[in-house]
Amino acid sequence: MAGLLARIAERWNIHREPGFFKKLDHKWTMVIDLDKCNGCGACVTSCYAENNLPVVGKEECGVSRAFSWLRIERYVEGEYPDVKVKFIPVMCQHCSKAPCETGCPVYATYHNQDGLNVQVYNRCVGTFTCATYCTYDVRRFNWRTYKFEQPLDQQLNPDVSVREMGIMEKCTFCIQRIRAAKDKAKDEGKTVEDGDIQTACVQTCPTGAMTFGDLQDADSKVAKLAKSPRRYKLLEELNTDPSVIYLKRVMKEGPSKHG
């Protein structure tokens, strides 16, 4: 009896832990230097190619159903001739305190021990709650059965599911690449090292604005960049605790007569 009570107490303590994890296996993090990002959009196309994102066509784009998991937002300040333009790539921020995870009634989205915000396609029933709660509007929904015209379907990445109609999806931090790297490391009897994993967007970014890695690994590139005084997180005041860290754009403040 006493043993049982002790076990219950132990369980209770473990599972009352906020966030549950005492220590994550990894804390995958992306650092995006907004001063380097020039808004070219190579990352977006790369994401389309890697993650089997369907092309939805003009009509669907017109009602804001474009499928990009990653988008580049452009903010404009001022009027001619004092125009300032700022770019920011926004994808799923893999929040540690993700609002979307609260919403899902069927555990189709949750947080795993790699610090990732998981979306399980085959569990999703499509209640839209996660997307409504998402403060970054990064979730995308399969409004229809999107077709990949023959033979464009031959390009589809076999490591990523092709999602059926009625399912919510979002950026996965290229989980297939993370898993492949872990798989390879395991074959070689090592652990994953910094730089082994590059998500599709990070890999292709021509200006090198994006970096991906494990924040828990103190020697990793992201850990060093994350210490930059320029760091900030998007909509930090909402306390979602994102895994994407932005580095501030360097830009003159106020109106720029002479720049």
Binding site: D25, Y110, N112, Q113, V118, D159, S161, I175, D183
Partner: protein, 173 residues
């Protein structure tokens, strides 16, 4: 009396529902073709059982890839251009080879598209093929012995204490 007639309809309704479920389950569990007829009556019993050819001799990608790999026609012909060439089954095989057509084997172990099962990881972890596929060497025609349902996978992952074995992204991505 009136009560009885209503009760009767209710009983009939309930019977209908229950038998519907039973019928569905019968179809699901017993009538599923777990032992499909293959285009060529290939016998694992002869190859793997009697002749003791190791699995990985034909399923060559098992240790290297997600897929175990169904042997190519060339690999079949590698032996059967010499061995037992006059058998009618081998003649069937030879006709495939000569018309340059692949053999349309029927999948016995079929997973949905959203399940990523890497053979490599499981084999490298030292698991025996039999664990999931059963004693293939004694099967004349291959039968699926495991349910291949999620609960079945989870059960093994939990018992063996696979690291992150219950994380959804381990199998679905």
């Amino acid at each position: 009396m009136i009560l009885k007639s209503f009760a009767l309809y209710i009983i009939i309704g309930i019977t209908g529902i229950i038998t519907f479920i039973i019928g569905y389950s019968i179809n699901d569990y017993y009538s599923t073709d777990r032992t499909p007829v293959q285009p060529i009556e290939f016998s694992h019993q002869i190859h793997a059982g009697t002749n003791e050819i190791p699995c990985k001799y034909c399923h060559i990608y098992t240790e290297r890839s997600r897929h175990a790999g169904v042997p190519s026609v060339q690999r079949c012909m590698g032996c059967h251009s010499i061995i037992k060439t006059e058998s009618p089954l081998i003649e069937k095989l030879t006709s495939y080879w000569e018309t340059k057509e692949p053999i349309p084997w029927v999948k016995v172990h079929n997973l949905p598209d959203y399940v990523y099962f890497p053979h490599k990881r499981h084999i490298r972890a030292g698991l025996d093929c039999k664990l999931c596929h059963g004693d293939i060497a004694s099967m004349d025609r291959v039968t699926r012995v495991s349910s291949l349902q999620m609960g079945w996978c989870l059960n093994c992952h939990t018992q063996r204490g696979v690291k992150n074995g219950r994380d959804c992204w381990t199998c679905h991505q």
